[in-house]
């Protein structure tokens, strides 16, 4: 039976794609209406995803449609799409949150001269992201993967007149591309091992091939390297904070809710590979440790940031680490669950911060804010819900998923559990700090007149707040989410009061500390940040563990320095010897120069030059006189005849017999 899911699903990524082309071609004519086109595209995708999701929730069999892409002789490559519960959840996340962010963007981007181009890029991003999650093979997934990377690059550098934005875009592109190399290598390795790019055959082969198990594990780790780049995990996390240079809706959609979660999705999707090796799966421990370290490290950095969006950026890195941690300790459901809840409340927080930034006239320094609760009541209340959800206060969304992850970690890997718990404490602390700095007390910079954002922005905030509040409890109810998304026969995580108690206590502790430092006596304009008391450590955190400097010293500087040393050597070699030995060195330098011009450059250019010169020489064959052309033609025929007869077996003319 071809179900309706199969009939409609292929349209999902095509709607935003169509929107992209329409805006691209008619953007100048459509102007503001291009937003409508984009919203129609993504909302249409949502409308088609919803029935798919409902079908999956009701226990519909997964749909998997393949068609041959290239088929020559024995070589066949199939492409296609699939809708299974994991994909359905991702579809809902992308299209629902996407629709809300698109609507919000109408308000946020309203004065931008490149309004339509923004929506074109966003639509293209939606298309690439949907392709990524719907693909049933690594090839299309990779196309989507690079597609979202490209859109991320274009959107981070959207305000390209700002040099910092261009730098951030370039950095994001290069760093994630480092990870992509790993992914591409992993896909090549898998194709080499199995002769296929589709998920199911690869996972089957991985399961039944015991000879190549090590190679499959290697492929899993290579794929994880791709995920590390895209999901900004340690040590490739450095691009995400800088990516905040892009417009805030971009930060919310791409750098919080969807694209950065693609890495987590990739690990979840390739879980059969990561699981190889049974109880002590190496790949999974790598995932768990990287996730744990990232969660903790990013949370410590977030504590000491003053830029409202940077705090959220580090928080995102930390939470992505959490998801990885969850997947790594065997909590497949928990990791995906956290991906979903996080998408909602982090999108909410980013959009809220966007609203604050817009209302505060594009000032992002929290030290200048304060007391915005009065000026921006809608923003405040929705932000407050997002804050509680992120901090993990029951019964809001974040609590349930974080709780499940901690539960799994406690059972399987205690050191990682400690990292996770510490990150949870820090999370509730830095979010409390942010709440008080932005909304509490009195405004510290009096020159700025804050105002509430328009409804087109606050209504999406309210909807997201609603989801952030209830989605956790809805999904946990009767283990609903676990029945939907699970891996193999994984048992549901039982709700244990002790873990819940611990995690709530940790969260409350963090909030308490935050209140003690920032809430009890609100910061006034003259006060300095109480955190400065911890001295060196604060500087260390504020400088993000000196990662940028580290990379600068370890990777970029040596490159530049070696270039400079070579230059210096060259200079001294020529200059110094000229001063020393005078005339002899002039000859030497000449020789050197000649060598350089004729041998070094020569070798490099030889191939090119020879080709060019042959081209130049050959053109003179074309003399312009038609009879020379005929000569060439006749000579060619005669040569062919002679050659063929010469190689022929014997010569005899039947007419002369």
């Amino acid at each position: 039976m071809t179900s309706y899911v199969q009939k409609i699903a292929w349209l999902i990524p095509l709607l935003p794609f169509a929107a992209f082309w329409i805006i691209l071609f008619f953007g100048y004519r459509l102007r503001k209406a291009s937003a409508l086109v984009a919203i129609a595209g993504i909302a249409g995708a949502f409308g088609l995803s919803l029935p798919c999701f409902i079908a999956m929730a009701r226990g519909h069999d997964p749909v998997n449609v393949s068609f041959p892409w290239v088929q020559i002789g024995r070589l066949t490559v199939d492409l296609g799409y699939q809708i299974d519960p994991l994909t359905a959840v991702m579809l809902m996340v992308v299209t629902l949150i996407g629709s809300l962010i698109f609507i919000y963007s109408v308000g946020y981007m309203t004065d931008d001269p490149l309004f339509h181009r923004f929506f074109a890029y966003m639509s293209l991003f939606a298309c690439a992201m949907l392709t990524l999650v719907m693909s049933n093979n690594f090839l299309m997934l990779y196309v989507g993967w690079e597609g979202v990377g490209l859109c991320s690059y274009l959107l981070i550098g959207f305000w390209f007149e700002k040099p910092s934005a261009m730098r951030a875009a370039k950095k994001a592109f290069l760093v994630t591309r480092t990870g992509d190399c790993g992914l591409a290598l992993g896909i090549f390795l898998l194709f080499y091992l199995t002769g296929s790019v589709a998920f199911d055959p690869i996972f089957d082969a991985a399961h039944h091939s015991h000879i190549h198990e090590t190679l499959f594990i290697a492929a899993a780790i290579l794929i994880f390297f791709g995920a590390v780049g895209k999901s900004a995990q340690f040590p490739l996390h450095v691009w995400l904070p800088d990516a905040m240079e892009g417009p805030t809706p971009v930060s919310a959609l791409i750098h919080a809710a969807t694209m950065v979660a693609a890495g987590v999705y990739l690990v979840a999707r390739s879980y059969p590979l990561f699981q190889l090796g049974g109880e002590h799966a190496i790949a999974l421990s790598v995932v768990a440790w990287i996730g744990g370290i990232t969660a903790f490290m990013a949370a410590t950095i977030a504590v000491a940031q003053n830029d409202i969006k940077r705090v959220l950026a580090y928080s995102t890195i930390s939470q992505l680490g959490y998801m990885m941690l969850g997947l790594g300790v065997g909590g497949y459901t928990a990791g995906v669950f956290h991906l979903m809840t996080h998408a909602f409340f982090k999108a909410l927080l980013f959009l809220g911060s966007g609203s604050v930034i817009l209302g505060f006239h594009h000032e992002q320094d929290m030290m200048k804010m304060g007391g915005l609760k009065k000026a921006m009541p809608y923003t405040f209340w929705t932000y407050f819900i997002g804050y509680l959800a992120l901090a993990g206060i029951p019964p809001l969304a974040g609590f349930w998923s974080k709780d499940e992850i901690l539960h799994h970690a406690l059972e399987h890997n205690f050191p990682v559990f400690l990292l996770g718990a510490a990150a949870a404490f820090l999370t509730s602390f830095y979010m409390t700090r942010q709440m008080y700095l932005v909304f509490g007390g009195e405004q510290r910079d009096k020159h700025i007149h804050a105002h509430e954002s328009p409804f087109v922005m606050t209504v999406p905030l309210m909807i997201l707040a609603f989801f952030s509040a209830i989605i956790g409890i809805v999904c946990v109810h009767g283990q609903g989410f676990h029945h939907l998304v699970h891996f193999g026969q994984e048992p549901p995580a039982p709700f244990s009061l002790s873990v819940a108690g611990i995690s709530t206590a940790i969260a409350l502790l963090g909030i308490g500390l935050g209140w003690k430092l920032y809430g009890q006596k609100p910061l006034s304009a003259a006060d300095e940040d109480p955190l400065l008391k911890i001295g060196r450590l604060y500087t260390f955190l504020q400088n993000k563990w000196y990662f940028d400097e580290l990379y600068d010293t370890v990777v970029i500087r040596p490159l530049l320095r070696s270039a400079r040393i070579l230059y210096w050597v060259d200079q001294k070699l020529v200059d110094g010897t000229v001063n020393l030995v005078g005339i002899i060195t002039i000859i030497l330098a000449r020789v050197h120069q000649l060598f350089d011009t004729y041998i070094v450059d020569g070798c490099v250019n030889l191939v090119g030059t020879v080709t060019r010169q042959m081209g130049f020489a050959l053109r003179y064959l074309q003399t312009g006189s038609v009879q020379s052309y005929l000569c060439v033609l006749y000579t060619g025929v005669i040569l062919f005849v002679v050659w063929q007869l010469y190689t022929g077996q014997h010569f005899s003319c039947p007419f002369l017999k």
């Binding site: 041959p68 080709t611 050959l618 038609v626 052309y629 033609l633 062919f640 190689t647």
Partner: protein, 497 residues
């Protein structure tokens, strides 16, 4: 008799439609009122070509769906053979002609002072010659069909009577063409003398009876291949091409750079595979040599060219070299890649080459010359044209995600399967060289500033033609399977029988 009228003329319906259309347009040109003439003739021509295209598709469907092989009507004898391979090529030829018609009106409006109403029927007759040629399996039919195509092409290339370049191009094209058709005829007469037959199947039987390869058969074949090589513009029979391309009206150049190649490849395959399979070793080495010379010569000489049409002429000499690799390789029964490679390459080539010439037409409609120098800053003055040309050139160079990649991949695959690894290596090396001169144009368009700004105002027809070509190039590039499958329809058709 009237009951099976369909089966009597059905298989040759496309040719009959084209013939009637051409005659109708010629006559209509004499009687229609002057002010309405151009519009009526243009649209009739377009509709007629569309009908011919549809009839090709219908005959193809009828053949593909019916269980038993198609019975050719008696009155045709063994002169024509309508099979899947021929029909796919006929569809391509009609498509190429439609694209040519689409990009023509504005150009001839600018450039022609007289004879505008005869232009379209002549193009239709050229298409008729080519469609006949892909089906022809008798030496006489091959000769007549080829002359029909050639004579019309000479006239069309020299059609701009007041333009010395066009006149010269027509003259040179004619002289080389007439001389090489005489050579081909001499080859045909020798073949006839050795075998006592003119239809390819009988020729094959006679050669098989002769036993050991007779040198005269070989000489006859080489002389015929020289004639086909002229149609294909394969080196060393290519010398007319740069001049004809540079001087001829651009839309016509688009057609003659594509249509005769399809027809020529079809007739070459038919003659070699149906008529001369017994001496495969000989001709496959011969074709391989021609392919290698064409690739090297075309791609190298294209580098220093200053005129874009001349550059594209050399590029198309190189391109035919790639396609000839497919002809030289082993037959389909031993080599899955061959027919798919040839057909996909021809299809892709039709889109990308006509597309490139369409952009050249659009640029020259704006009053610019064909010098590559005049393409400076095209990216600013007309982004659509610049991006379109970028896509077509990337495809000609065989870069992903364009269709050219698949054509080259299949052809080189076929070569390697047939033991022609050296040809594949030469082909890849030439592709690398070709990137050099194709991207020189891209560099000029995108990175140099225009000296004087030009406004581009193209008709919807021309834009439509360019967009069809882009869509084809990119769609086949992204999703090649349907086209490879379509090529597979004619899999064992080209195989020897």
């Amino acid at each position: 008799m009237s009951g099976d009228f369909g089966s009597v003329i059905g298989p040759v319906a496309p040719e009959i439609i084209l013939c009637v259309l051409g005659l109708l347009l010629l006559v209509a040109g004499m009687f229609l009122p002057a002010h309405r003439k151009a519009t009526i003739i243009f649209w009739t021509c377009l509709v007629g070509l569309g009908t011919a295209l549809c009839s090709c598709v219908m005959v193809l469907a009828a053949i593909a769906l019916s269980p038993e092989p198609l019975q050719m009507p008696n009155w045709l004898g063994a002169t024509l053979r309508v099979d899947e391979f021929a029909l796919v090529l006929k569809i391509l030829i009609n498509l190429a002609t439609i694209l040519t018609i689409l990009i023509s009106p504005e150009y001839i409006q600018h450039r022609l002072t007289a004879g505008r109403s005869e232009y379209f029927p002549l193009v239709v007759f050229a298409a008729l010659g080519m469609t006949l040629l892909v089906s022809a399996t008798d030496l006489i039919t091959i000769y007549v069909a080829m002359e029909l195509t050639s004579l019309v092409s000479y006239v069309l290339v020299g059609y701009m009577k007041r333009d010395p370049k066009s006149t010269e191009a027509g003259m040179k094209y004619f002289l080389v063409g007439a001389a090489s058709s005489a050579i081909m005829l001499y080859g045909m007469s020798l073949t006839y003398g050795m075998t006592g037959a003119t239809d390819l199947a009988s020729i094959r039987r006679a050669i098989a009876e002769l036993g050991s390869p007779e040198p005269m058969v070989l000489v006859g074949l080489i002389l015929m291949v020289a004639g086909f090589g002229f149609k294909l513009a394969a080196a060393p029979f290519h010398m007319w091409a740069p001049e004809a391309y540079e001087g001829g009206p651009t839309p016509i150049v688009a057609l003659i750079s594509v249509g005769p190649k399809m027809a020529g490849i079809a007739v070459l395959l038919h003659v070699l595979e149906i008529g001369f399979p017994e001496i495969r070793d000989h001709w496959s080495a011969l074709i391989a040599a021609i392919a290698a010379i064409s690739m090297v010569l075309g791609n190298l000489t294209a580098i220093p060219q200053k005129n874009i049409k001349r550059m594209l002429a050399y590029s198309s000499i190189g391109q035919i070299g790639y396609i000839l690799i497919g002809v030289a390789s082993l037959p389909q029964s031993m080599n899955d890649w061959r027919t798919s490679g040839i057909i996909v390459y021809l299809l892709v080539y039709a889109f990308m080459n006509i597309g490139a010439f369409a952009v050249v037409t659009a640029v020259s409609n704006a009053g610019l010359s064909d010098d590559i120098e005049d393409y400076r800053g095209l990216a600013q003055s007309s982004p659509l044209l610049a991006v379109a040309l970028l896509v077509f050139l990337a495809s000609l160079a065989g870069l992903p995600p364009t269709a050219g990649l698949w054509g080259k991949a299949l052809i080189f695959g076929a070569a390697i399967y047939s033991g022609f690894t050296w040809l594949a290596v030469v082909g890849v090396a030439c592709s690398v060289v070709s990137v050099f001169y194709y991207f020189n144009v891209v560099r000029v368009m995108f990175f140099l500033k225009a000296t004087t700004p030009h406004t581009f105002r193209n008709t919807h027809l021309l834009t439509a033609g360019i967009i069809i070509a882009i869509t084809g190039t990119l769609f086949i590039g992204v999703y090649p399977e349907p086209f490879i499958a379509m090529a597979r329809v004619g899999q064992d058709i080209v195989a020897a029988r």
